[in-house]
Amino acid sequence: MAIYTAREKDTHDHFGVFRGVDQIEAFGQASVVAGNAFISCVKKGISFSELYENYNFVFLTMGSAICKSFIKLGDTAIIHAHFDDYKFRQMISSGKVYKASKGFDLEKYYQDYTEEQFKNNIVPAEYMEVSEFNGLTGRGIKNNLI
């Protein structure tokens, strides 16, 4: 799970809207990029900055994207990403992006959120589903090969 609030620089030049493509980028960074880099750090026993001296983690492709609503400047995107597969520094994720009604206390809500709730995509009534992404694929690639 990850939370990101759309800032001015994210919506500049597109009418204050955090577009579907921006949501895909945020979802990819939060899932296959961050998750992949984390696993590589653990496997190699090195820090994030040490890992990035030799590797870059990139978003490559995706299966499907269904955008049902939008996120505006100042709205908070709540990303629920599930890892579908991981092998040889290639990771695949699927999941949903939500936005919560104004004033909803995310910190309080997630204090008691369980793994079971996450696995079953259980979210509060205050959430609105914004988009659904499937088969988003990213990989860790050596810097000298990019």
Binding site: S40, L60, T61, K87, F88, R89, K142, L145
Partner: protein
Amino acid sequence: MTREEILKGLIEILENTPQVDSSKLKNVTEKTDFITDLEVPSTELINVIAKAESKFDVEFDDDDIDDLGSSVSGTIDLIEAAFKNQ
């Protein structure tokens, strides 16, 4: 296991890979490239290598795959090396 047997096994994996045009598999040799000659998507190539692990009962490290490239000969080298390390 000979390199020829490994090649045959790799072709069997490719025959069961939906993204690969089976007509391209008639003339696969060690000089073939998975991506440029067979048009295997680079993301699918990882799955082909993973299936090779299972088929040949060997294990590869992430680091081995980093520098593997996309040649059939390189993959056969990798499998041969894994046999030797068993």
